[in-house]
């Protein structure tokens, strides 16, 4: 009853192929956008910005990137951390050499550089698949992190090996650096996520997305209907890396401000969590990327709240428990709903359609 499509006729292919074909979806999405753009910026405080909203937006972007590669094109990658580091260090170097360049352009160029690196590390995908490709991308993770650690040029020969962001303005308001107000960093990330999110959805529902899925589902048949495997796989690597690179640039410039590569872009802090995001959210689902990112970002906060504030454990004990519970939840999740949160949502929609009548 609540989620009823009866009476909503589609008379054009355009309306049938829309991103939100049902009026309910349109209303829900508009409300969400209204809250995100016109309410949250006025009520946001530093805690919400640093702990939840900005990391959620940045990891959504990374999850979309990995979902394009793994969920839609079927190429497993464990190199997310390495690619995010490429985005971060590109931003740093461009900021050093072009002090006057607009931050928006810097972030997008960093994405393009990461895309080029992604294409290079995607080359083995023509020959190897599955677990073997995962291991090959793992090499990119370790190699890139090692590279940014070993070559002093990347961190401008600073003694600590850290890179620190300098202040950049957009419309006269600082969006990077220590003085950036919460609403500015939040809106900057939000705008990028919305634009790039729509771009990704459009790619997926047109020719490129169908080529990716064809390669994922049956590469031989794809080749015979005229999908070139090398070009298609590399395009997935390039576009996926672009998203991950932009996420890396934001992670460094807007979120953390100062990073040390081995700590910030480790496989345990980035690559695995982002992979879990798309598995828990739903492989091959845009909504899943967002749900997964929200789940992984808020889970530690929720667990800490329960264990420290409600149960009264010490912060250190809670931290240890957190990892255990995290792993446990992951296993339970994979057994109960292997298709992720996006699938739960579509089951819920089906239920809402019929509610309150069971049949």
């Amino acid at each position: 009853m609540l989620y009823k499509e009866t009476g909503q006729y589609k008379s054009t292919y355009k309306s049938d192929h829309a991103i939100f074909p049902l009026i309910q979806d349109k209303i829900a999405f508009s409300t969400l956008m209204f809250i995100a753009f016109l309410i949250i910026p006025f009520v946001i405080n530093s805690y919400w910005e640093k702990a939840i909203l900005v990391p959620f937006l940045i990891f959504s972007l990374a999850a979309i990137g990995l979902n394009i590669l793994t969920g839609y094109c079927g190429q497993v990658s464990l190199g997310t951390g390495g690619f995010m580091a490429v985005g971060a260090f590109s931003t740093y170097k461009i900021m050093t050499y072009f002090p006057d360049l607009n931050i928006m352009i810097i972030v997008l160029i960093s994405g393009l550089i990461t895309a080029a690196v992604g294409i290079f590390f995607g080359l083995p995908s023509l020959r190897i698949k599955g677990f073997y490709l995962a291991v090959a991308t793992l090499a990119s993770q370790f190699f890139l992190v090692w590279l940014f650690n070993k070559v002093p040029w990347f961190y401008n020969y600073s003694a600590t090996g850290q890179i620190t962001v300098s202040e950049r303005f957009l419309f006269g308001i600082p969006v990077t650096g220590a003085n950036a107000p919460s609403y500015a960093t939040y809106l900057f990330c939000l705008v990028l996520v919305v634009i790039l999110g729509f771009a990704a959805k459009n790619l997926i529902r047109s020719k490129m997305g169908r080529s990716w899925m064809a390669i994922r589902d049956m590469d031989i048949a794809a080749e015979i209907i005229g999908v070139p495997p090398l070009k298609t796989k590399l395009s997935a690597f390039a576009i996926s890396s672009f998203y991950i690179g932009v996420a890396g640039a934001l992670y460094f410039a807007v979120f953390l401000g100062a990073i040390e590569v081995t700590e910030s872009f480790d496989i345990m802090t980035i690559s695995f969590p982002v992979l879990f995001m798309i598995i828990i959210g739903g492989l091959g689902s845009m909504l899943g990327s967002f749900l997964g990112a929200a789940f992984i970002v808020t889970l530690p906060i929720g667990l800490k709240f329960i264990m420290v504030d409600l149960v009264g454990l010490s912060a250190v004990t809670a931290k240890h428990f957190e990892i255990t519970i995290w792993g446990l939840l992951m296993i339970i999740f994979l057994i109960v709903e292997p298709h992720g949160l996006a699938r739960l949502w579509s089951i819920a929609k089906e239920k809402l359609r019929r509610w309150p009548f069971p049949y």
Partner: protein, 268 residues
């Protein structure tokens, strides 16, 4: 090489000519000195016992296997070594013996993949999904909807094909090949594992495609009744060699063919 070549040949003239095809995988000789030609607009059947090299023959025609020696001729021009993509671009579509659909995608999306080669917009336009990109998408959707109507697939448009029953999957696969608007359609056992009604439906679709769209059809099939009924000409393979060719009636009475199918007495 342009798409026109196969299109431009008049009906009844040779569309594909295979000359002295040899194909070997290491020591295994899959095809030995096979030659035949397919005329434009006909239903051409390749038959033979299991392991005779029929599927290998189709794989050679659409460029998936490279013959060890021999020449393939499309529309009077020698094709040499070619990639499957090239065959697809020249207007050759095929279905597979073991269904090769994209299982995670809906029926509609599977059929839309048949249009991929004809979609020309670059990825930036697709990302913006605006103007020409959107229009192109709708044009191809319209073509695909015609195929959906023809094959009665309306009710399963949004169903992921992995969850469809076998007979319907075969039909969707035919649909994907038809969405490519091919000049030549290669069908690898389109009726394998079907019951009589499904076979009748499938035969009807194949004949309609041949009659109405004038598509040339190359068919592998084990059901002799179907083969004799719907094909114009037949070639018979056994152990990778051609043992007979001709009209259905000639094949029916061909001694070598009967021996291959029924066996030969030793004390002959």
């Amino acid at each position: 090489m342009s798409l026109k070549d196969l299109k431009d040949i008049p009906y009844g003239k040779t569309a594909i000519e295979l000359k002295n095809i040899f194909l070997a995988f290491g020591g295994v000789k899959a095809l030995t000195d096979v030659s035949f030609e397919v005329k434009k607009g006909e239903v051409f059947a390749i038959i033979g016992p299991n392991g005779a090299g029929k599927s290998s023959m189709l794989n050679v025609i659409n460029g998936f296997y490279k013959p060890t020696s021999g020449t393939i001729n499309f529309a009077g021009t020698d094709r040499g070594e070619m990639e499957p993509e090239f065959a697809a671009k020249s207007g050759i579509a095929r279905t597979f013996q073991n269904i090769a659909l994209f299982k995670g995608m809906s029926t509609l999306d599977n059929l839309m993949t048949g249009r991929l080669l004809k979609q020309k917009q670059n990825f930036l336009m697709q990302a913006l999904y605006f103007g020409p990109a959107e229009k192109e998408e709708e044009e191809h959707r319209e073509k695909v909807e015609r195929v959906i109507d023809f094959l009665d697939l309306q009710s399963i448009r949004r169903t992921p094909v992995g969850s469809l029953p076998y007979g319907l999957q075969k039909r969707v696969e035919l649909g994907r090949a038809l969405a490519m608007e091919p000049e030549i359609l290669l069908l690898d056992e389109p009726m394998a594992g079907m019951n009589v009604e499904e076979k009748q439906d499938m035969s009807r679709f194949v004949l309609t495609v041949n009659n109405e769209l004038k598509t040339t059809i190359v068919l592998i099939e084990h059901d002799m009744g179907v083969v004799m009924d719907i094909s114009d000409r037949i070639v018979v393979l056994d152990y990778g060699k051609k043992i007979g060719s001709g009209l259905p009636n000639e094949i029916r009475s061909n001694k070598a063919v009967i021996d291959a199918y029924l066996g030969v007495a030793d004390d002959d």
